[in-house]
């Protein structure tokens, strides 16, 4: 009817815009779809994802705590074992969720469900899809982090009001892992390669000062671990949880800022290579 009003919207002429035809300026559509899919089918599974770190906290905090006693925390102060591992478990959960969402989940939708094929045949660009997925992963991460912090409160493990800042900090950690994970996924060909990612995460989980201070290791091992992202995440949240800050805190934060920027740049580059050949 309104033929005369049907002028080409600017979104269809992407040449001189930021990121060109990689970006259709419609991340919202991807997010809306993701939210609908989650609430429609598997919200119970999603909610239950927050159970795992809580189980770890209860089991290790109580069970191992009885064996370990107290541990020296940020600034050298002695703290209860449960207080010591709680922020570390939050960092681990932020990492696991972000890595799962940006690797396994994206890989499945890309290669098996062929979801993105449908999305990319519309005006959406690959950048919209990537950003939308990362946003969804972070939203989920924020929910889990809030839930976990509430459990910490209920268990009497929050000793400083600064601890509330763990929630945004956990989202920053998740952002770093998700943007990097997305770039890695774009190189993956088979599900078996996904297993290799899991195999890399396990040692990182166990070695990154999660269950005991870094000081138990010889110097050489310590400096290797200090390169890994999870160690920075664990230290960052541990310092926030007790409100003891140092220049190191800023260093940890900076590590993630760099990781986010690098990850996004790499992802964008890969998308360009894959979709705009």
């Amino acid at each position: 009817m309104n033929v005369e009003n049907r002028t080409a919207p600017t979104a269809l002429v992407p040449q001189d815009r930021f990121l060109g035809s990689l970006y259709g300026r419609n991340i919202r559509a991807v997010i809306a779809r993701g939210l609908k899919a989650t609430w429609g089918t598997n919200w119970s599974i999603m909610i239950s994802g927050f159970v795992e770190p809580v189980l770890y906290l209860v089991a290790m905090g109580i069970g191992l705590g009885a064996l370990v006693g107290t541990v020296s925390g940020p600034g050298g102060q002695e703290m209860n074992y449960a207080n010591f591992i709680a922020p570390a478990l939050l960092a681990v959960s932020a990492m696991n969720g972000a890595v799962y969402d940006s690797t396994m989940n994206v890989f499945f939708k890309l290669n098996h469900a062929r979801l993105y094929e449908g999305m990319l045949s519309t005006t959406l660009g690959p950048f919209d899809v990537a950003m939308g997925e990362i946003f969804l992963a972070l939203l989920r991460g924020a929910m889990y982090a809030t839930g976990f912090t509430a459990v910490m409160g209920a268990m009497g493990l929050i000793t400083s009001p600064w601890a509330l800042l763990m929630i945004p900090a956990a989202v920053v950690i998740a952002f770093g892992f998700a943007s990097f994970g997305m770039a890695v996924t774009s190189y993956m060909k088979t599900f078996q390669q996904m297993d290799w990612i899991q195999m890399l995460m396990l040692p990182m989980f166990l070695f990154s000062a999660t269950f005991y201070p870094l000081s138990v290791y010889p110097e050489a091992v310590q400096s290797v671990i200090q390169v890994l992202p999870l160690w920075h995440g664990v230290e960052l949240l541990r310092q926030i949880s007790v409100g003891i800050f140092s220049w190191g805190t800023a260093g940890h934060l900076l590590y993630f800022v760099v990781m986010i920027v690098l990850g996004l740049a790499l992802t964008t580059n890969r998308l360009r290579a894959l979709f705009l050949k």
């Binding site: 089918t41 598997n42 119970s44 599974i45 239950s48 994802g49 159970v51 795992e52 189980l55 770890y56 209860v58 089991a59 290790m60 109580i62 069970g63 191992l64 009885a66 064996l67 370990v68 006693g69 541990v71 078996q192 297993d195 290799w196 195999m199 396990l202 040692p203 166990l206 070695f207 269950f211 005991y212 138990v216 290791y217």
Partner: protein, 294 residues
């Protein structure tokens, strides 16, 4: 002479003729069918042997270094800690933890192989329906799966045990090596009921993720693996009592360093694991037959 025989066994269109009559193949399948399916299972495993070996070697290395040595520094250094061994002696945290790690590895492999792979056989790839149309029976397919799984579990627990020895985590190797089999039994005791359950699922609506989160994870954390079950409050200690992992871990500890417990308790561990394995296997066979030959 042999050439003539070869000519006779070749048909112009159908090519090579089978060296066995249908009657003979049926007789072989009746006798060795489960083994034939297990053979297939192992052939399939070769397809992802990289992952299998990586898991079998990487997991023990990482856990032994991380928990067995790292965490041990904290625990052994704490005067409250001390793990009772035989005749009033105490053992180190590494020795306490070792048998639990072997048993846990079996649990994890078993939970992996008895969920998604089974679903793929019935639904995603329908790979059970191929052998089901051959002389094999549905029950033999179930049993063959269990035999193949047993091989993978033994590979896992065997390699893990070698690592324990290497790290000096076994006090009595003379009996300790038997934990390879008690861990296997623990893996089957958990895996057989799970296999029976997976065989009833028409569709994965996230049940496997739920099993992982609400069954496997709690079993892993509350079965006295990283600390004695007694250090947990009674409210959650029952999880350990019903957990096949706790029973197989305790057996491993008895074998490895003479963990003090009454002989009757040791018998309970064995009987409990055997009952779960046998019961699960009976149900799994029944469910396979219902699904494949209904």
């Amino acid at each position: 002479m042999t050439k003539l025989a070869a000519e006779e066994s070749r048909h112009p269109v159908l090519g090579l003729r089978s060296p066995l009559t249908p009657r003979q193949t049926a007789a072989r399948a009746r006798r060795f069918g489960s083994l034939y399916y297990a053979e297939h299972w192992i052939r399939r495993m070769r397809g992802y042997q990289g992952t299998v070996l990586m898991t079998a070697v990487g997991t023990p290395l990482v856990y032994l270094l991380g928990m067995g040595m790292g965490l041990a520094v904290l625990i052994d250094g704490n005067s409250n800690a001390g793990f009772p061994g035989a005749d009033g002696s105490t053992v180190s945290y590494l020795m306490f933890l070792g048998p639990a790690l072997v048993a846990t590895a079996a649990l994890m492999v078993s939970s992996e192989e008895n969920t998604y792979y089974v679903m793929s056989g019935f639904k995603w790839g329908r790979t059970y329906y191929g052998p089901n149309a051959s002389p094999l029976s549905s029950a033999q397919i179930a049993l063959g799966h269990v035999l193949g799984l047993t091989v993978r579990l033994l590979l896992t627990t065997g390699i893990y045990y070698l690592f324990l020895v290497l790290f000096g985590a076994v006090v009595h190797p003379a009996t300790g090596w038997l934990m390879i089999f008690t861990a296997l039994l623990g893996g089957l005791a958990f895996g057989m009921p799970l296999l029976a359950f997976s065989a009833t699922l028409k569709e994965d609506k996230g049940q496997f993720a739920m099993v992982q989160r609400f069954v496997v994870m709690p079993l892993f954390l509350f079965s006295g693996t990283f600390f004695p079950l007694d250090s947990l409050p009674l409210a959650v200690r029952w999880i350990g009592w019903i957990s096949p992992l706790w029973h197989s871990t305790e057996l491993g500890r008895v074998l490895s360093y003479g963990h003090p417990e009454p002989a009757a308790m040791t018998a309970v561990h064995v009987v409990y694991l055997l009952v779960l394995t046998a019961g699960g296997l009976v149900l799994a066979r029944r469910n396979f037959t219902r699904r494949l030959a209904g």
